[in-house]
């Protein structure tokens, strides 16, 4: 049984300031549609929603031809870059604005958490705001009264509940707002980026509650987030939006991988790694470098990957005795780890004149932290000669490794790898 169905849904926006030309557009539209009896003249034009390039017309399709359906009980993650149309999609669904074309069919009551704490009035107390917020989302007063204790308890703001909300910290407002929303028991819950605020403990609580909602109570959840780890742990289906169109629909793992790959391919300052070679012996020519199967300067590692492949191709006119050295650094250039088997294992290889290919397979730590790293690639022997240096040639985005149902470490807070117990 389907809970939501999108049928050729599109949403068109007009760019620029609403004033000049609006009235003439309105008149023209009214004239063609009502007097001449033709179609809306502005529906045909309009570019797809590519933010960075300059379009030809004033009209833009924030969403174009969206077609998919969600089964009852599904937890669907909607992912995409900024401006891909995620929020517009949720806005259509929560009826904040209506589609330009197409139709959305829904079965059940929708509650949207587009931003928690909607309708909070700073002058009113926490308790009054719980009622306000709940009623805005469609609960009746009796329903709220019945769940009031539970809501206050979940929010953890009991001490402040009779204080005006303007004295609350931003985190407390979010807690209170989420607590109300989490207790309203809709058939369909629409969530947008609530987890961005709030501390770790609350995030855990919120994710737990959402899992309960979807698993235990069999409700449908649509979840938009940039936090891939949260999307992965919560959802089992994924929809990737790109420039207002659906790019991929499938299981959450496939969707996240697809998104990470395509966003890596689209990285704005895309350069070949060979352009990063700062120093190279005159007898040596490097034709190709691949790290993690890409010749470009951006790649990402996803959950479950345990090997980083490195490939160097080139020609030399003199024999070399060297090692491949890789230094993993934080963005601020602190060195975190190195792969240099010539150094600590005395394993150097000899390369004869002519064409050569060097391959290395670096075993990755089992629990690598979520974060952005840069890699240096060096060909040297251990001290005398340095054949090739390419500092910062690869930007590595690691999504963070963890066991199922757990969470990854974060590079900034907990360092680079997770240690394991000895026995």
């Amino acid at each position: 049984m389907k809970a939501i169905e999108f049928n050729h849904v599109g949403k068109q926006y007009r760019l620029g300031v609403v004033s000049t030309g609006t009235f003439s557009h309105d008149l023209n539209r009214w004239w063609t549609m009502n007097v001449l009896g033709k179609e809306d003249p502005y529906l045909k034009i309009g570019d797809t929603n590519v933010r960075s390039t300059k379009g030809e017309s004033d009209f833009v399709w924030a969403l174009k031809d969206i077609n998919f359906s969600v089964e009852q009980g599904d937890v669907v993650g909607i992912i995409g870059k900024n401006g891909a149309g995620k929020s517009t999609l949720l806005k259509l669904l929560s009826r904040v604005t209506s589609p330009t074309v197409g139709e959305i069919n829904v079965c059940g009551r929708i509650a949207s958490l587009l931003e928690v704490g909607t309708g909070f009035h700073p002058e009113m107390t926490g308790r009054e705001n719980i009622y306000m917020n709940g009623a805005i989302m469609g609960m009746t007063k009796a329903e709220i009264t019945r769940k009031l204790d539970e809501i206050i308890d979940f929010s953890g703001c009991e001490r402040y509940i009779d204080t005006p909300v303007k004295r609350y910290s931003s985190g407390m407002k979010v807690r209170l707002g989420f607590a109300v929303a989490a207790h309203m028991e809709p058939e369909i819950l629409v969530v947008d980026e609530v987890l961005a605020v709030g501390d770790a403990e609350f995030q855990k609580k919120a994710i737990g509650k959402m899992q309960d909602v979807s698993k235990g109570e069999g409700r449908t959840v649509l979840f938009v987030s940039h936090n891939m780890a949260a999307v992965r742990s919560l959802c089992h289906k994924g929809v990737v939006l790109r420039d207002g169109m659906t790019d991929f629909i499938g299981t959450v793992d496939d969707a996240v991988n697809h998104y990470l790959e395509s966003s890596a391919a689209q990285a704005e300052e895309q350069k070949l790694m060979t352009e990063y070679i700062q120093k190279c012996k005159s007898f040596l020519k490097i034709s190709e470098i691949q790290i993690n199967n890409t010749p470009y300067n951006f790649t990402s590692l996803t959950q479950g990957q345990d090997v980083l492949d490195v490939l160097i191709k080139g020609t030399t006119t003199e024999p070399m005795r060297c090692q491949v050295k890789i230094v993993i650094r934080k963005k601020d250039n602190t060195a975190l780890a190195s792969f240099a088997e010539g150094r600590y294992k005395a394993q150097l290889v000899t390369i004869e004149p002519g064409e050569f290919t060097i391959e290395r397979h670096v075993a990755l730590p089992r629990y690598m932290a979520d974060g952005d790293y840069t890699l240096d690639l060096v060909l040297n022997d251990t001290g005398v000669q340095c054949y090739m240096i390419a500092w910062g040639c690869q930007n590595l985005h690691v999504e963070g490794f963890y066991d199922q149902y757990a969470h990854s470490l974060r590079l900034e807070k907990e360092g680079f790898i997770g240690l394991e117990s000895a026995y």
Binding site: K2, Y13, V96, V106, L114, T118, M132, I136
Partner: protein
């Protein structure tokens, strides 16, 4: 092997051959939609039942409007009284003593007070509901609920203010009555609820019409602010209609739907004024048509106003 056969029996895909004789329960259920979101709804599609379902929200909005208005003020609800008192004193000085305009022989304070409290109620409803979309865009941008709830709550919460001011009027009235002023209430006082309904309807209708227009063109909010200001002088508040001689001017003032209500209210409470069923009927009709028209426009605008506001 047998396990495999068992598995196949349960998960046979739906095909024309086996029709609906599938053991999986999902295939048997009929797809039902409880809501369809479409680009356009019929113009007359106004879901009053939905507003009724949100009646708790109306109540909460009413409370919020009242409570929040005078938070962190020293005088609090006393402001409800200070405003009409100062206005009436001003009217007495300017129109009563300097311009020496007639009050039909009634005490000046009562005469001005009667007109002003009615006008205040109307203009408060109008002003507050005319900014429905612009002041609530943060909330409207995130959650759906029937938008009409907000202006309806405005009209109801202003009723309290009207009641307090009416209380002041009654107190003043008793004072003059005991002191033997030539005033006498009559049966028409029973029509007061009707007057209030018409006032509320006019304020609400015009207010939501303005708020719908201002989402796209802000010109309307500027235009209407001073139109309402001028409108007050086209309404017999500081002068009685009897002062206006027969002619085009009187016809124009009678065409103002506010005229008959304020005159009738003065007639009902003070015993002097212009009362006519025809004029009241006209105001009522005017209000009904305006309200219907405005609700239709409002309903149309609310679907997409977030894109233009």
């Amino acid at each position: 092997m047998s396990e495999c056969a068992e598995f196949n029996k349960i998960f046979v895909p739906l095909s024309p051959k086996n029709g609906f004789l599938v053991s999986s329960r999902n295939y048997m259920q009929q797809q039902v939609w409880t809501m369809k979101i479409r680009p356009h709804e019929r113009l007359w599609h106004i879901d009053l039942g939905e507003i009724w379902r949100y009646r708790d929200l109306i109540e909460l909005f009413v409370r919020r409007n009242i409570v929040v208005q005078y938070k962190q003020t020293i005088l609090g609800p006393l402001w409800y009284l200070i405003q009409p008192i100062l206005t009436v004193i001003m009217n007495m000085v300017v129109f009563g003593n300097i311009a020496k305009m007639s009050t039909d022989g009634m005490p000046q304070a009562l005469f001005y007070m009667a007109g002003n409290i009615c006008w205040f109620y109307f203009s408060d409803c109008l002003n507050q509901s005319s900014s429905t979309f612009t002041t609530n865009q943060n909330m409207f941008g995130k959650v759906y609920f029937p938008r009409l709830v907000v202006p309806i709550a405005v009209v109801i919460s202003n009723l309290l203010r009207f009641a307090i001011q009416a209380g002041l009027f009654v107190a003043l009235y008793l004072y003059f009555f005991v002191n033997g002023a030539p005033i006498a209430p009559n049966w028409a006082i029973l029509l007061t609820p009707v007057f209030i309904v018409i006032l509320a309807g006019l304020g609400l209708g015009l207010g939501i019409l303005i708020s719908s227009l201002t989402t796209k063109y802000r010109d309307f909010s500027i235009l209407f602010t001073f139109i309402v200001h001028l409108w007050m002088y086209a309404t017999p508040i500081v002068y009685p209609i009897s002062m206006v001689e027969e002619g085009t001017l009187r016809t124009l003032i009678m065409a103002n739907p506010m005229t008959s209500i304020i005159e009738a209210f003065k007639y009902a409470t003070l015993g002097q004024g212009y009362f006519s069923w025809l004029a009241l009927g006209y105001s009522f009709l005017f209000m009904s048509v305006l309200l219907l028209f405005s609700v239709v426009i409002f309903n149309k605008v609310q679907r997409n106003f977030m894109d233009t506001v």
